[in-house]
């Protein structure tokens, strides 16, 4: 009951409406006037009273409840985004039928399965009653993003594994002659990829809608932007992840890396745009957690600075450098890896900031009253 301690500490917002010490006046109608001298040693002749603590809110106690989600859910948002994003990119790369992008497809497939693998465990551990995790599939409720999200996760889990297995079979990881390998190779990986694009994109973006469909002011005020914002962030993380993998792997063509880097810049720009638009739309009161305090600081330096600004700068530098070198290599691979790492770090920090800022926003009475003051 964190708020209890905080309410006790009298951290309630809103100063007391201290009027002048009891002023002289004869019996007024509707109330009567008392003449007394308060020696005024204390502040303004009146100690801070119970009424002072409830002038602008109910003793600072939150009108709504924040979700109990912490690290497990934040990590799930992050990994789910990367899994969905990298699978989608892999499939798109396959669609371009450019043979050089085979490496992107392979990296994307493997990364998406690797990212997706821990997510079910994360979600189950986060439940109050983990042994009842299967109840999530008891209903399919369109109006509940978490219900739709869980079904998507299940379906995408199958497709993502299938694609990864097909990829593994094609790469001979499962051996040439073994039964399943031969069967898997026959499956049309492009069609499976295409089939998986929709759940992939949904998995990457639905977490934004899940947060938006709540009463938490910071999440729900600009609800239309939350989905795209999370999707952009997921895609930029995915691109960064693939770029990182390819940068480290030998034999990746320079051009592919440059192309990926440019794509990542596009996503970063979109994410930055959406984030700033959302923040602007929130308004001063509701956006306060993004401005003040620890989370505000992490938002400004961590997410905007390290996660978006710096990687964009690096990518611009490396792109100009590439053009000037016309085909030189070497140094840009290091820059790509560094940029990718920053983006990946920024991505995690972004989800941490959004979730924590949301929890603070739920605890702030002024935010809810601002959101619901209506016309």
């Amino acid at each position: 009951m964190a708020w209890a301690r905080r309410a006790l500490a009298g951290a309630a917002s809103g100063g007391p409406a201290g009027g002048p010490a009891g002023s002289v006046g004869e019996g007024l109608s509707g109330g009567y006037q008392r003449r007394w001298e308060t020696r005024g040693e204390g502040r303004r002749g009146r100690g801070r009273s119970v009424a002072d603590q409830s002038r602008t809110s109910y003793y600072g106690i939150a009108p709504i409840h924040k979700p109990p989600w912490k690290w497990l859910v934040i990590t799930y948002f992050y990994l789910g985004g990367i899994a969905g994003g990298s699978y989608a990119l892999a499939s798109i790369a396959e669609l371009t039928r450019v043979p050089a992008y085979g490496s992107i497809t392979r990296a994307g497939r493997y990364i998406s399965l690797a990212a997706l693998a821990p997510t079910p465990l994360l979600l189950i551990l986060d439940l109050g009653r983990p042994q009842r995790f299967h109840h999530m599939l008891r209903v399919f409720k369109l109006r509940s993003p978490m219900s739709v999200g869980t079904w998507t996760l299940t379906i995408f889990g199958g497709l993502c594994s299938l694609s990864a297995l097909i990829q593994a079979a094609q790469d001979g990881v499962l051996g040439r002659r073994s039964g399943p390998a031969r069967l898997l190779v026959t499956l049309p990986s492009r069609w499976v990829g295409l089939l998986g694009i929709v759940p992939a994109f949904f998995l990457a973006g639905y977490t934004g809608v899940l947060l938006a469909a709540t009463a938490v002011p910071l999440w729900t005020k600009s609800y239309l932007l939350m989905g795209p914002l999370f999707l952009a962030s997921a895609l930029s993380n995915a691109t960064a992840a693939i770029a990182l993998a390819l940068a480290l792997a030998r034999g990746t063509s320079h051009r592919t890396l440059a192309r990926l880097e440019r794509l990542d810049s596009v996503f970063l720009l979109a994410e930055a745009g959406l984030l700033l638009a959302a923040r602007a739309h929130l308004g001063g009161v509701i956006a306060r957690p993004l401005r003040e305090g620890r989370v505000g600081g992490m938002h400004r330096f961590g997410v905007l600075g390290l996660g978006l600004g710096l990687p964009l700068a690096l990518q611009l530098v490396s792109q100009r450098y590439n053009r000037s070198q016309m085909g030189g290599g070497g140094t840009s691979r290091l820059a790509t890896a560094l940029a990718s790492l920053l983006v990946l770090g920024g991505g995690f920090l972004f989800r941490y900031v959004i979730v924590m800022a949301g929890r603070q926003s739920a605890d702030d009475p002024q935010a809810t009253f601002e959101l619901t003051k209506g016309s």
Binding site: P68, L95, R129, H135, S144, T214, F230, L235, F267
Partner: protein, 284 residues
């Protein structure tokens, strides 16, 4: 027992809580409330809820704090005694005045945010149009907590599941009046069919305004309290001060009506990003 009807029934016009034949609910008339907390104790006694004991809060006589997993009725205390100059009133407003006391409870909304958010279908609408969390289904995901515009459900520290007022569903099945409504000494909490209660509420507000209580209004109709797609509350109130004073949102909104629009926005973005990725990769 009549078959349980899924979904919600039609919402009522402005100024009147939703008209739902057969719906049972509460009218909590704060002008009769003497802040005795009999409702809090009667609710805990019937439902066997353990004590919270959060300690002395210093928030006037409210040491209960907030609705939670083990507190399904919560009496709020707000002191509005002295004016700016510290003058205390002698002749008071009819009925409850200057020390606002209100027994807060789950609103049992016509369209309930918690019910629409719950991914396991644990939260259902009963034949009495009340909203109940089925303890044999809930797996403690916590999504109903932020989904409720009034901050009612809470996850219990002991059993990890979400809990809130059930409008004494087990008592209603046996034709018994909810424990809090029965215990309330001054009948500030009135239980009954919500259309009767709705008329009683509007009559009460009218007579209060006649006697000089300008601030009197119904909280829980389409306009204030049951707005934004919620379609009215089955547990509504007669208040004499703005809702924010009682820690209630003035015009809350049903969060889940944004879900589908959220999906579409995301799908749109997905198409754009997908195309961007496709062309950005293909282009020479």
């Amino acid at each position: 027992m009549t078959a349980t009807r899924g979904g919600a029934s039609p919402a009522g016009p402005k100024g009147q809580p939703a008209q739902r034949p057969g719906a049972l609910g509460f009218l909590t008339d704060t002008t009769l409330c003497i802040g005795c907390k009999a409702c809090e104790v009667a609710c805990k006694q019937w439902n066997g809820l353990p004590m919270d004991n959060i300690g002395w809060t210093g928030n006037s006589y409210d040491n209960t704090g907030d609705l939670g997993a083990t507190t399904w009725r919560h009496v709020t205390f707000v002191e509005r005694i002295a004016d700016q100059a510290g003058r205390r009133p002698a002749t008071l407003q009819p009925f409850q005045s200057n020390w606002l006391m209100m027994s807060d409870i789950c609103k049992h909304c016509a369209h309930a945010g918690c019910m629409e958010a719950c991914p396991t279908g644990a939260i259902v609408r009963t034949e009495f149009e009340s909203v109940v969390i089925q303890q044999d289904v809930c797996n403690g995901c916590g999504y109903c907590l932020p989904a409720c515009p009034f901050g009612v459900p809470e996850i219990s520290d002991t059993d990890g599941k979400a809990h809130k007022c059930t409008l004494c569903y087990d008592r209603l099945t046996d034709g018994l009046e909810p424990a809090c409504a029965k215990a309330c000494p001054t009948d500030s909490i009135q239980f009954g069919r919500i259309d009767d209660l709705g008329e009683r509420a509007t009559e009460r507000v009218a007579s209060l305004r006649e006697r000089g209580v300008e601030g009197a209004h119904v909280y829980g109709d389409q306009d204030v309290g049951g707005s934004g797609g919620i379609g009215g509350l089955n547990a509504f109130f007669v208040l004499t001060a703005p809702p924010e004073v009682y820690n209630l949102p003035r015009r809350p909104e049903l969060p889940q009506r944004k879900s589908v629009r959220g999906y579409l926005a995301t799908a749109g973005a997905a198409v754009i990003f997908g195309a961007a990725a496709f062309f950005s990769l293909r282009e020479r």
